[in-house]
């Protein structure tokens, strides 16, 4: 009886030790050794206790809380990847306000300033249409504007391709997690079949499921054999110890990288996780911004060239060449002939009258013209609205993240409160086990002494 008691206290100490070791593991659920009085013996003098026995080690699981944490992981995974993509985009837009004592608050690096720069240089030229330096200034400011268009466009392309890379990485990591969950399922099923439960493996599986939820929104279902089956977008990816399917990227009809189930071949529509966040950012705000900037560039090219083509240069030529080349933000450029020889800029509206400023003035006035292809806004207004819309999108993601963070934190607090390890409790328990162990040992010593006394009595 005393020996059994010693062994139970040792086991309890081991559980406390295990709990203490996992004090900072968030997915770890506090374990407790369940003990009960050993069956008593029916004696003539009544029931006589036979000591204590350990029944099993239980965990303080709260599966509802865990599933909420898994769902929240998908939400924050999606938002975080959207946030980082949009922040990167915001940096590429180069519209940052700074304050200086001479000019007050201004943003002087982005497209807005360069658009103003072009139209202002045209205004200057309109006051002295034959001036070569003023013509050079027009060519330079136009080049600066087109380079800015090119740089914003390539920045957005970089963001989109980074997002594709992160989708690829997300798929690889998800598939690793799926295999790991299946492997852990296998071991848990075996352990349970042998009549035990392996709490450590369950903890580890929970951690992996939460990691997976960060990449893609998943549905889990606990099986009676101890396994947890996982499905993504309605396709079962983990069934007991097997992975019947996995994630795969494919290129859809519009050339975008998307996700499908590898074996079932069905396209998956995800609603959470970083993979979905990357797709949403790429096909949502980043694509919208890219379109708006392209429309802005193509409108500028068309409108400018149509006025410009009616003009005459300083040598009285009306060339059929365009001023702006290209068709969108990525390809827009300035005709090299004008850059190399500013006298070829077609500022005059009348043949033989080089001092005329009709065309250059019309070009300058494009700045304040409402254009139908830009929803009846001017070029600058349209760009400012684009920036405003983009800013709102990022602002909304930012505030959603702070909400989601608060929810995650609340859930984590709740879980740690319900299932977390408390060192003080464990230390108190440990002392209790120690005292009980000492007492049991004392019992052994006492019985031993009693036996010795008896033996001594006999040998005397």
């Amino acid at each position: 009886m005393a020996g059994q008691s010693l062994s139970v206290e040792t086991q309890a100490t081991a559980v406390a030790g295990q709990n203490l070791a996992n004090v900072s593991n968030p997915a770890y659920a506090d374990e407790q050794l369940q003990v009960q009085a050993a069956p008593s013996l029916d004696t003539t003098s009544g029931d006589e206790g036979t000591g204590v026995q350990a029944t099993k080690i239980t965990q303080l699981w709260d599966s509802l809380l865990n599933s909420q944490i898994v769902a929240e992981d998908s939400v924050s995974g999606s938002l975080n990847s959207q946030q980082s993509a949009l922040q990167q985009t915001e940096a590429y837009l180069n519209e940052q306000l700074s304050s200086s004592s001479s000019t007050g608050t201004s943003s002087s690096n982005g497209l807005a300033a360069d658009l103003s720069g072009l139209f202002n240089s045209l205004q200057t030229l309109s006051t002295d249409p034959t001036s070569i330096p003023d013509r050079q200034a027009v060519a330079q400011s136009a080049q600066q504007l087109t380079q800015q268009f090119n740089s914003v466009s390539s920045g957005l392309t970089t963001v989109a391709s980074d997002l594709n890379t992160s989708i690829q990485n997300g798929v690889t990591s998800s598939n690793n997690d799926l295999s790991q969950i299946a492997a852990l399922n296998e071991q848990i099923i075996n352990a349970q079949a042998d009549g035990g439960t392996d709490n450590n493996l369950i903890d580890q599986r929970e951690k992996t499921i939460e990691d997976l939820a960060g990449y893609a929104n998943i549905t889990t279902s606990a099986q009676s054999n101890g396994a947890v089956n996982v499905s993504i977008g309605g396709v079962t990816m983990v069934a007991d110890g097997a992975t019947p399917d996995s994630l795969q990227t494919y290129t859809n009809s519009s050339g975008q990288l998307m996700i499908q189930a590898q074996n079932a071949g069905t396209p998956l529509t995800l609603t959470g996780g970083s993979i979905e966040g990357s797709i949403t950012a790429r096909d949502g705000q980043v694509a919208t911004l890219q379109n708006s900037i392209n429309t802005l560039a193509s409108t500028l090219i068309t409108q400018f060239n149509s006025v410009y083509s009616g003009g005459y240069d300083l040598n009285n030529n009306n060339s059929t060449q365009d001023f702006f080349t290209g068709s969108d933000a990525a390809s827009i450029g300035v005709n090299s002939t004008v850059v190399n020889d500013p006298t070829t800029f077609q500022a005059s509206g009348t043949s033989g009258d080089t001092g005329d400023n009709t065309v250059v003035l019309s070009l300058a006035n494009l700045a304040s013209q409402s254009l139908s292809s830009l929803s009846n806004q001017t070029l600058s207004q349209s760009y400012a609205a684009t920036i405003g819309d983009f800013g709102s999108a990022l602002q909304s993601v930012n505030s959603q993240i702070s909400n989601s963070t608060a929810v995650s934190q609340m859930l984590a607090t709740q879980r740690s409160s319900e299932t977390g390890v408390d060192t003080d409790t464990e230390m108190t328990n440990l002392m209790q086990y120690q005292k009980a162990y000492e007492a049991s040992a004392e019992l052994v010593t006492t019985v031993n002494q009693m036996l010795e006394t008896l033996i001594d009595m006999k040998t005397e």
Binding site: E90, S99, T130, D356, S368, G391, T413, M427
Partner: protein, 313 residues
């Protein structure tokens, strides 16, 4: 509520993180003086600022146009005033000659005086501005507008106009345009009025001065009184009209400049109001956040440093 060890540390870390973020935001605002720096900070303010900035840049450009136009209007005005002085001198000669009391010597002195005036008027007609443009050639600013033909004695017998009758319009504000150019001559009957000759007013200064000079030389005082004197009065009136028109343009330029300046001041104020951090508020909040941060750190370390372990031997 049961408090486990990780409940406490997790909560503590979350709290500290939040306070650090707040401090960071406030510190950025305090050091830049701006409450908005990126589009996502305040999208509507950002897009409004971009629009205001575009309008402000356009206004500054209008002001630069105005400065340039004022310079050329002033150049024109100076030339036109000098021209008027010459024409009134010629008019005086015509009046004196038409009285019929002048001797023939007197008349030939007058004739050479008028000849000198024609030369001076030619020079004024070919005035160039600071950029080397002829200001009385219409938009054909690179061609010398007035060319004289002379007889064997070197006297001017006729002046032909090589410029055109077009004038450039320039922007001095949103939907506000002005033309400062004056064509030297306009005999087309439409467009901007010519300074030296215009078919609508019948003015033709060079022709009338040459005719006066020739009549003085030949002593034909009756022709001077019947034809030259009234014609030259008409020419002078034409110039006076142009001078007053120039005055109107100049005051329009000044008004537009004042308007652009005050608009820019308003816009700058608007941008500043939209984007500036309220320093008093920012600093107070920063102070509060810092106090909270210190309190959190202090209480956190106070609680965390003590556990049952401290009392176990």
């Amino acid at each position: 509520m049961r408090v486990s060890s990780s409940t406490f540390t997790g909560g503590f870390i979350g709290e500290i993180q939040q306070l650090e973020q707040q401090q960071n935001t406030l510190q950025e605002q305090a050091s830049s003086g701006l409450s908005v720096t990126l589009p996502s900070d305040n999208p509507s303010v950002m897009s409004e600022v971009l629009n205001l900035q575009t309008n402000g840049a356009a206004n500054t450009q209008y002001q630069s146009n105005i400065t340039q136009l004022q310079a050329s209007a002033t150049t024109s005005a100076t030339a036109m005033n000098s021209l008027q002085t010459i024409v009134s001198q010629v008019n005086e000669i015509a009046t004196n000659a038409s009285s019929g009391t002048a001797s023939s010597t007197q008349l030939s002195t007058y004739a050479s005086e008028v000849e000198a005036c024609i030369q001076q008027a030619m020079q004024l007609g070919n005035t160039q501005d600071a950029n080397g443009n002829y200001i009385f050639g219409g938009t054909d600013s690179s061609t010398k507008p007035f060319v004289a033909t002379t007889d064997a004695n070197g006297n001017v017998t006729g002046v032909s106009y090589k410029g055109n009758t077009n004038v450039n319009q320039n922007d001095i504000g949103l939907s506000m345009t002005v033309a400062t150019q004056v064509p030297g001559e306009n005999t087309t009957g439409s467009g901007a009025e010519g300074l030296f000759a215009d078919s609508r007013t019948g003015a033709d200064l060079f022709k009338d001065m040459v005719s006066l000079q020739q009549n003085l030389a030949s002593g034909d005082t009756s022709a001077i009184s019947s034809t030259n004197a009234p014609a030259l009065t008409n020419d002078e009136n034409n110039i006076i009209n142009q001078i007053s028109a120039n005055g109107v343009v100049q005051s329009a330029l000044t008004a537009a400049n004042t308007m652009a300046t005050s608009q820019n001041t308003n816009m700058t104020t608007e941008i500043t109001n939209d984007t500036s951090a309220n320093m008093a508020q920012t600093m107070t909040e920063l102070d509060q956040t810092q106090t909270a941060y210190q309190a959190a750190l202090e209480s956190g370390t106070m609680v965390m440093s003590v556990s049952l372990l401290n009392y176990l031997q």
